[in-house]
Structure formats: structure tokens, C-alpha cells
Subunit: 494 residues, 2 copies
């Protein structure tokens, strides 16, 4: 029996435990550093990766330390008595090993794997092994089985309405905040659209980060239900709702590995949407040389996979392939993107027209899901809702219902314009590099940080004209971002 | 600039860094927990996985903490000024990603991957990705390229002699300490056999652990050279010699994943042997239902791969397929195995005959490498060297030259005999379970712990007869091991 101690370390999704080298249990069990151990107290148990502490600073010989995340999951106070033992590797790893050897797995095997992943029974290296083994080859039936398992393990929301709309973009395009225009348009029309979004992992802002500039995004399922009943829509963060939790765990390894195969992308997106109770879904695949999807043929292959898996799961699903050759809108970073969104909703003369037009297109496709809308008239309807101010009013109602945003530090005291190195026409903008510079400037942690684009593809520029402004709330961030931008602005001028 | 601090945590081969959440560099760079960062001071630099500390207990806001292993590698004192930045992922990961997509890699790509792995630039999940991507499929040319790269990155020993012998067993058989009999026989004959061995990772003892009961095994390359000149052989631990260091890093992920494909096994073993300067190599592949290699056809496939890769690397290589249906010898665990070895060398009436006969067979194959030995007479020669006491004398000289062993705790105060549950004949012994019970008893950390087998396959037993004795130095270990043995002894009696 050891005494539980909370170690104030953020180890993200990797559960880490700490034992003293002088601990009797450590020696008795023949534990090694990096072994997986099971920590239990009564019926509560978690698995964690073991670090060995060499003096009493971190844990004493009669203590078991847990980093913040597993401590919270175990849910016991400091000083509680816990037991430790060697963890048996999850049985579903045998299926992963056969997948490595080339076997096609059964649906029951994906289910067991997903249950173990959602329960944090896989170490990071085991997660990587699963991802790589499936990245090599998956049949469409395997993608379906994985998606279904991910959707079924965790919470599932249900709604009383026959049509529950949602949209999702596969990502990679800076500033692409269409959801925040589409949701109020669709809600104003009266179609329920309970939108849950993620925070940025490697990009300068996710929809949840940008919405959080305007309103609270961390709502309970009960409050979200209430909003959908009254406002027909919401724009909230899905992080605490336990929707397809295995997906969150897998993403924590996919991102550092920079692995995002079509099969994993489709499973990840559709599992979250099915768990959230959507019935009608629009998928946006931007295609461009620096977007996530780089060719039309890749986009078509992904579209077919979305259609097949979505169809088998009972979703009405449309895929739209859009222009992903440059950022959408002008602001990159939470506050700058929120500004663009509110300008579009307010029909402000300074609004970015590409964000407006793309949002109308997407909202129109969703309105076409409504059986009461005459086929093909959705886009016209969306335009009227936006122009009339009804979308703006819907957004204001959503913001009021979600409540005020948390306070945030940093508000762009530092700013510098990045000039064109030559005269000519903007031929291309590197989405990847623009994301990276905005991220260095402090986005999304510093909500005010990011880039404000003054030129887009096709614009004529003279040498020295500002291409974009970098904003940052902190000197060090500002130096990093401007340094990278001066080295290469990400703009190609011809 | 941050001040370096040593965090007394053993994180094995995973390099871990610690920053305070209040550290300016953490916020500025937009680091996330589990990101990989580069820590540098002048020309020294290492990569480490980041953990975020939430109060000043572990690191202060102006400090950068490193766990024990990266602290030692960086080689700077506490308080030294270091810089941190986002680490770019190693470029060779692009090759791993193409391997995942099914491409066959070039030799130059394996070289780059191995250099990055040896320099600790791969995180655990990246190592797992590489292992799984190659476990799916490798051509024999790829195995050769990987082996050559692993052998060439790190130290390489060279010897003045035209024949430098070595032997290696692919493992899995408890008690199989033939090297400690073979080396003195071969050395007594006068053939150089500089044997470097590993410590146990998942087994109850490695050759280095068992030899360490009798002598110091942690020798410098200079002292090893000196020994080979005078004694012709040695039995040392290779851990500090930096031979094929990428292999050590890969093994740290292969073992927890329980992945050991023929390709990885061949590359791992041959890279170490080439780096150690061997010219003539005997490989022992035990085959049995609970051994690492389970069928004759698997053994033949592995044999051919050893022969091809070894041949291309200029090794004279012989593979012998042996009986792996049960443990070899009687003792399992460092001290008990050392007892068996010394009994064989001393022609003690209590010696285990299977260890003696197998050692003579293997030593004979190695003596046959000597151009001065008449073809096929090696085994007879080995028997004569053993029977005459010359092997024992050679072992005593080796032990004296290596110096006295370190002190060790625990000496088997606890002992219990595990009885046969029925009368009959021992039909099978489960190597895997015997290893596990011996490990639970405390081997190899407790040198005296382990199992002493009293019955082997083919022996007749009566119900209640002792099958083996469990020895342990600590009460908790003893309880774990006897508990597991009582549940299932690992013996099948018919």
C-alpha cells in the first residue's frame, strides 16, 4: 500500500506515475523505468508509464506519484492508499500485432482496441504502433468498423429533431472560420445545428479558440441541449463532452508524428459527428498545394471514403471540394478571425468577401438538407438570411446564451508590417508557413496574436507594400514571428 | 537563457525535459506538453520530450530541468546556461513516412534514420513508428542496409587476429548460459573470443548478469583488448562500449511492444557483432513451443536471413538450430546459473549434462572455424579441453583478469519447493512461464533469486515430488513468485 501524491506535471495524454527507487514495491515487482504499471484503489484503476525517482524530492519511498492528468482521472485525494502492480499489456495489442503482420481485422477487434485506447490502456508507443499498422493498409470495411467503434465508445448525444445538421472542414487553411458564419445562418433558418468544435492543436486557432473571444465555449451537455431548443444552434468546445474519446487520444499521437491518412481522417471526423448525434453532414475539403489535401484526385478518393462510411453509419452526407490555395479571410489568430466573422455577419464594408461567399455556399448546401427547402435554392436563402441581418441576430442570441468569454491576456501591443520584397502580382500564399508564423506570434494561447493579411492571391503589389501585419502581445513571441516572416514571408510574387 | 537543473528521475532511454508553466520561453514558443524541444549550450545539443511543471517544486520559472539520462548526455553542470527551442522533427522521419506508405527505402535513408536514432533524435512514438513500418515488410536488401548502418554508427572494434570468434543465441530459453562454458573452451584453445553480452531486459538473467556473480563485467575497451591478448577471451558487458548504439535505443521500444520480427532480430544481432569486430560467428536458434522461435520452418527462414546478411557483411557465419523445448541446466537466475556453469567447467558430478553437451557442441562448431583444426574434429577437441580442466583454468584466468564482482544484496533466505500436482512423466516445461516466475522472484536485480529445477522433460515424478525450488532474497518477491508458481507451475505432467 502506497500513499497517493499529486505531482504537478502536465504530461498531456500520457499518464505518468512516479515511484522512488527505494520503494519496496518497485524492487519487489522488478519494475523498470518506462514499464507500464496499474494503480488501483478499490474498484478504481488506471494504467500509467513509470518514472523512477532517485531521491525524496519528487516522491518518498512509501508514496506513489501521479502527474496531473492520471491523478484527476483516478479521482482520489492525496494521501489515499493505492496499490501498484505490473500492468498486463491490453489483450487487444495482439490484434495490432496481427495487423502489423498484414491481417485484416474484424469489427470486434477494432471495438476492443478502441475501448482500450479510450480507457488510456495504450502507451504512446502502443498508440503509434496501432496508427502505423493501420496507416499501411485498411479496407473500407475496416475504416467503417474503426469509425463505428470510435463513435460507440464514449458519450452519444441524441436530439428530438429529424434533421440535425453539422459541417466540418478537414483543415489546413488559415483563417477559414466559416462555421461561425454558417451556424447562425442555419440556426436563423430554424434547422438545429449543435456545433461542437476542437481547439487548435498545431494550427494558430480552432473554431473553439476563435469563438472563445466572443463567448464562453465550455458548456455542459444540458446547457447545449437547452440552446439547441431555443437558439437552434451553438458553437461550443467538445473537449469535455467525452464524444469519441479514443479519437482524442489517437490525435495526441497523430499530430506529433504528422500522420494523417485519409482513412484515419475519415474515421476521426465521422466518429465525432455520429457521437454528437448529427444526421446531416457537410464536409469541406479544401484543395491546394499547401493545404492538407493537395490534389483533386486525392480529394475525390477521400470524398468517396466519406460517402461510403457516412452512408453505412446512416448519415446523410455531402462533400464539397473547395479552393484551398490561400487563407480565407484576412485575420489569422483568434481575435483577428473573430473580427472577420463579425464583419461578415454585420455586412460591414470591410468584410472579407471570400469568407462571406464561401460561408454562403456552405450554408446553402446545409439549408438544402431541409425537406422544406426547394431543391437548389439553399444558397439564395442563405444569402438573404445574411443580408437581412437575421444571421447577425442569431449570432448575438447564441453569444448571449453561451455567456461571456473568459478574460484573456495580450492584445497586440507589438505590431510590424511585413513588406513585399519585389513588385508584381501575388501568385501564391503558403498556408503552412502562414500558420507557423501566426503560431509563433502567440496564437492561439495569446488570443490577440496573429496575422492580418493585406494582400491576397491576384493582388498587385509594389516592392515595400505591406503584405500583412504581425501582431503579438509579448516581445519574445513577436521577435520569433517577425524573424521567421523576414526570412520568408510565405508570399510568392511574380 | 535558462539555468540547467538535474531532475533525479530515471526515464530510461526517453529523454525528458521540464519547464515551468510560468517560464517565458514556454509561453513564447507555444510549447505544449509532450512537444519535442532542443536544449543547447554552445555546440552541445540534445532533444527531449517536454513535461510542463505547474509549480516551483520541480523547476523554477528560469530553470530547465532534465531527467538523469539527458542530463548526463548533455554533460554540463547544474546552473549552466542553456537555450531551448522547438525541435524540428528529424528529416529522416520523411523516409519512415514513405516506408509506412509502402516504399522500399535506400541504404542512404537507413543510414540517416540510424544516425538520428543513435543521437536520441527520435521520440518513443517515432521509434515505434519506424519499428512497425519495417515490421510490415522489408526486403533482404533493406535488412542488409539497416544492419550495415547500425554497425557503422557508433564505435567499431578491430583486432589484429585473422579469426575473431563469437557466438550468439537468439534467446528465450531459461538457464541457457552456454557462452560461459564456450568462451573458456575456445580461449583455452587459443582462438580469440572477446565476448560482449547484454544484461537481461525481460528475462531473469543475461550472460552479463550471470558473469557478474563471478567477476566485474564493466570493462573499458582498453582492458578488454589487453585481456584478449593475454587470456584470448573475456565475458564482459557491452553496455558502455557504444557498439551499435541505435540497436540499444530500438530494443528499448521493441521489448515493451513485444515485437521481435526475424528482420529486426537479424539486424540487431549482426550489427552488434560487426561493430565488436567479430569475423567468425556461430548463431544458436533454439526451437520449441514456448521458445522465441516456435517452428523448424521459421528457424530455417531466420537462418537464411542470417546467412545472407552476415555473408554480405563479410562474416563467416554458421547457424545451428537446437532443441528449445525446455530450460537448459538447472539454475534459473544469475547465481544459480553461475553455479551450473562452474560445475560444468569443474567436471562436478552434480553438473547439468544438457548444459555440458550443448556447450561442447557449440564450442566444437567454433573450433572448427580455426584453419588449423582438422574439419569436423572441433567437438572432440572441445570435449578434451573441458575434460582436461584447461577450460576451468581459462575461466579462472578470465575471472582474475576481469577483477572481483560488485557486492550484491539478497542471498536466498526464502525458499520453497513447488510440488508435482500428479504422478507421471514430465512432458513439457513452459519456458515463458519459468522465466516469468524467476523474474518475479527477483532475478536479475536480486542475484541470488530464481529457480532451481529438480525435474526436466522425460523425468518420472510422483505427486508431491518437488519440481523446482524457488529462492528469493525478499519476502514480497517470494510471495509473488510462489503465488504464480502455485497457480500454474509451468510443468505439464502426463
Amino acid at each position: 500500500m502506497l500513499k497517493l501524491r499529486r505531482i504537478p506535471l502536465d504530461t498531456h495524454r500520457e499518464y505518468v506515475a512516479f515511484l522512488s527507487r527505494d520503494c519496496a514495491a518497485y524492487r519487489a515487482e522488478g519494475f523498470r523505468a518506462l514499464a507500464k504499471i496499474e494503480v488501483s484503489a478499490g474498484s478504481r484503476r488506471i494504467l500509467a508509464t513509470l518514472n523512477i525517482a532517485d531521491n525524496g524530492l519528487i516522491v518518498g519511498p512509501d508514496e506513489l506519484g501521479l502527474s496531473m492528468q492520471p491523478f484527476a482521472t483516478l479521482g482520489l485525494p492525496e494521501g489515499a492508499e493505492v496499490e501498484v502492480r505490473q500492468a498486463s499489456p491490453p489483450e487487444s495489442l495482439e490484434s495490432v500485432r496481427s495487423k502489423i503482420r498484414g491481417r485484416t481485422l474484424e469489427a470486434t477487434e477494432y471495438r476492443a482496441i478502441v475501448e482500450d485506447i479510450a480507457a488510456h490502456r495504450y502507451s504512446q508507443m502502443e498508440l503509434a504502433a496501432f496508427l502505423v499498422s493501420t496507416a499501411g493498409f485498411m479496407t473500407t470495411e475496416e475504416v467503417l468498423a474503426l469509425t463505428r467503434a470510435m463513435a460507440e465508445v464514449g458519450n452519444r448525444l441524441t436530439w428530438p429533431d429529424p434533421v440535425v445538421a453539422d459541417k466540418h472542414c478537414v483543415g489546413g487553411i488559415p483563417g477559414n472560420r466559416t462555421s461561425m458564419v454558417v451556424v447562425p445562418i442555419v440556426a436563423a433558418h430554424g434547422l438545429p445545428i449543435p456545433k461542437t468544435s476542437s481547439r487548435a492543436i498545431t494550427s494558430p486557432s480552432g473554431t473553439a479558440d476563435t469563438m472563445e473571444v466572443l463567448a464562453n465555449v465550455d458548456l455542459s451537455v444540458t446547457r447545449m441541449r437547452d440552446m439547441v431548443e431555443r437558439q437552434r444552434g451553438c458553437l461550443v468546445w467538445g473537449g469535455h463532452m467525452n464524444l469519441a474519446p479514443a479519437d482524442d487520444v489517437l490525435i495526441s499521437v497523430e499530430r506529433p508524428l504528422n500522420m494523417d491518412t485519409p482513412e484515419q481522417m475519415v474515421a476521426s471526423i465521422l466518429a465525432k459527428k455520429v457521437a454528437a448525434g448529427s444526421t446531416h453532414l457537410l464536409i469541406d475539403i479544401p484543395v491546394g498545394p499547401t493545404a492538407k489535401v493537395r490534389s483533386q484526385s486525392d480529394a475525390i478518393r477521400i470524398r468517396k471514403l466519406f460517402e461510403y462510411v457516412g452512408g453505412q453509419l446512416g448519415l446523410t452526407l455531402e462533400v464539397t471540394i473547395t479552393d484551398g490555395r490561400q487563407p480565407i479571410g484576412r485575420g489569422i489568430g483568434p481575435a483577428l478571425e473573430a473580427r472577420d466573422v463579425m464583419r461578415v455577419l454585420g455586412n460591414d464594408p470591410a468584410q472579407p468577401l471570400d469568407l462571406r461567399e464561401k460561408s454562403i455556399l456552405l450554408a446553402g448546401r446545409i439549408l438544402d438538407f431541409d425537406p422544406g427547402v426547394r431543391g437548389g435554392s439553399g444558397a439564395q436563402l442563405a444569402r438573404e438570411i445574411l443580408d437581412s441581418g437575421r444571421a447577425q441576430a442569431a449570432m448575438e442570441a447564441i453569444i448571449a446564451a453561451q455567456g461571456p468569454p473568459p478574460a484573456w491576456r495580450g492584445n497586440g501591443h507589438y505590431a510590424e508590417d511585413i513588406p513585399a520584397g519585389q513588385s508584381g502580382t501575388v501568385a501564391a500564399i503558403d498556408c503552412y508557413r502562414i500558420n507557423r508564423i501566426a503560431r509563433l506570434a502567440g496564437a492561439p494561447m495569446d488570443k490577440g496574436a496573429g496575422l492580418d493579411l493585406m494582400k491576397k492571391v491576384g493582388d498587385r503589389v509594389r516592392k515595400g507594400d505591406p503584405l500583412y501585419r504581425i501582431q503579438a502581445g509579448f516581445a519574445a513571441d513577436f521577435a520569433f514571428a517577425t524573424g521567421m516572416a523576414r526570412e520568408n514571408s510565405g508570399y510568392a510574387i511574380q
